[in-house]
Amino acid sequence: MVSAVRTIEDAVWDALGGVQDPEIPAVSVVDMGMVRDVTVEGTTVTVVMLPTFTGCPAVPIIKSDVAAAVSMIDDVTGVRVEITFTPPWTTDRITDQGREKLREFGLAPPTGEGPVLITDIGLPEVAECPFCGSRDTHSENAFGPTPCRAIYYCDACRQPFEQFKPV
C-alpha cells in the first residue's frame, strides 16, 4: 500500500516537471521552486503552490495547467491545487537546473546565493549577460515586461537583456 502511494507521488512530480511557467516557457514550475507540497491521500492529490509575485497574472493559468497535468495520471481521481503565500516565494527557490534553463532562455538568473533577506532586495549593479557571459553590463530599469523581470544592457555585446529580479 505504501509503495502504491509513493508511486502516485512520483508520477505527480514527473507531471509537474512538464508544466511550464507560461511567461517563461523554458522553465517548469518545479524548476521555479513554485511547488511547496504534494500530498496524496488514496487517489486524491493536493498540490500546494507559491506564486512568484503576488500579482502574477499567470497564476490562474498555472493552476489549471497543474490540475490538468495531474489529472492525466492513471489512478488519480481528484486533484486540488492550492495557492499560498506561506512561506513567501523567494528567488533562492529556483533550482540550479532552473537557473541554467533561464540563462538558455535569455533571461539572467537572479544573483546571490542562499536566502534573500528583505534588506538585500534590490537590483545588483551588474548582471551576467546571458548571451555572451560578460559582466560589463548595467541596469536600465528595475521594472520590465513582467513583474519578475528587470532590464539590463550588455556593454560588451550591445544587447539589452532581462534579469530575474532577486526577491
Binding site: G55, C56, P88, N141, F143, P147
Partner: protein, 279 residues
C-alpha cells in the same frame, strides 16, 4: 469575521487599487519609455496586492474579489484621498509615489506582527515586492532634488501637496480601537503617522527640501472625532474648500473628492456594463 479585520483589509486593498489605477494612467503616456514600463509594472504590483487582499476578505466574508474591487458604490471605498488625486504632472506623480511608498513601508513593517496568519503571510510577500517601489521612488526624488532648479521647484510643489495629504493614510480606520485591541493592527495609526513624519522629514532634510513642507502637516496632525463619527483634524488653517475636514482627510470614512467620482466612473465602467462576466 471580525469587523475590525474587514475594515483593515478594505483600507489596505482600496489604497493599493486606487493608487495602482492612477499609476496605470501613465501607461503609454509617461515622459520616458523606461518610466512607462516602470509605472505600468508598479501599477500591476499594486493592483495585484489589492486583488490578494480582496481575495482574503472575500474568503472570510463570502463575497468575491472582483465584486469588492469594482462592484461597490464610490462612497464604500476606504482609501486615503491622496491615492485618488489625479496624476497632475510628472513631479506630483513622483512626489505622491514617494510619499505613498515611504508610508506603505512603515505600515507593512508594523503589519508583520498582525494577529491574522494569512494577512501576515501576504504582508511578508508584499513587503518584498514593495522594496522595488521605494527604491524607485527614492532614486527619482534624489535625482530631481539634486537637479536643475525648475525640476526641483516642481518637485517641492508636488511634495507640498502630497506630504500634507499623506496624513490621510494614517487617519484611523473604522473600528480602529478594536483592530488594535484584537491585534490585527499592531500599532495605532497615530503611531504609524508619527513614524512616517519622522522618517520622511529626515529624508527631505537630507535632500535639502524646504522644511515648511512638513512642518505644516504637524499642525494638522491632531485628530478629533466629530459627533457624526467622522474624523476631523483640529488646528487646520488651509482647508477653504472643506471647512470641517483638513485636506486629504475623510477617505477612511468614505468621504472622497469629486476627482474620485471621475476615477470610479472609468475604473468600474466595464464591470458595471456586464457584471459577473467571465474572461
Amino acid at each position: 469575521m471580525s469587523e475590525a479585520l474587514a475594515s483593515l483589509l478594505t483600507a489596505l486593498a482600496d489604497d493599493e487599487l486606487i493608487l495602482g489605477h492612477r499609476h496605470s494612467e501613465w501607461t503609454g503616456f509617461a515622459p520616458h519609455i523606461e518610466e512607462d514600463v516602470a509605472f505600468s509594472s508598479i501599477a500591476q504590483d499594486e493592483i495585484g496586492h489589492a486583488a490578494a487582499l480582496y481575495s482574503l476578505l472575500a474568503q472570510r466574508s463570502g463575497g468575491d474579489a472582483d465584486g469588492l474591487a469594482l462592484g461597490r458604490d464610490a462612497a464604500a471605498y476606504r482609501h486615503a484621498v491622496l491615492c485618488e488625486r489625479p496624476n497632475r504632472d510628472w513631479a506630483y506623480t513622483l512626489a505622491r509615489h514617494w510619499v505613498y511608498d515611504t508610508a506603505d513601508a512603515i505600515r507593512l513593517e508594523a503589519l508583520h506582527d498582525t494577529a491574522d496568519e494569512d494577512l501576515r503571510a501576504l504582508v511578508t510577500k508584499m513587503s518584498r515586492e514593495e522594496r522595488y517601489h521605494l527604491i524607485h521612488a527614492d532614486a527619482w526624488i534624489e535625482r530631481v532634488a539634486a537637479g536643475p532648479v525648475e525640476g526641483r521647484m516642481k518637485l517641492e510643489d508636488g511634495l507640498k501637496e502630497a506630504f500634507e495629504e499623506a496624513l490621510g493614510l494614517f487617519e484611523p480606520i473604522e473600528h480602529e480601537e478594536k483592530a488594535v485591541h484584537e491585534g490585527y493592527l499592531p500599532l495605532p495609526s497615530s503611531e504609524l503617522a508619527r513614524r512616517f513624519r519622522e522618517l520622511a522629514a529626515n529624508k527631505l532634510d537630507e535632500l535639502g527640501v524646504q522644511t515648511e513642507i512638513y512642518s505644516r502637516s504637524d499642525e494638522a496632525a491632531e485628530f478629533v472625532a466629530s459627533s457624526s463619527g467622522d474624523l476631523i483634524a483640529s488646528g487646520d488653517e488651509h482647508a477653504e474648500s472643506q471647512p470641517e475636514r483638513a485636506r486629504g482627510l475623510g477617505g477612511r470614512s468614505g468621504h472622497h473628492s469629486d476627482e474620485f467620482q471621475d476615477l470610479w466612473d472609468v475604473m468600474t465602467s466595464t464591470y458595471r456594463n456586464n457584471p459577473g462576466a467571465t474572461w
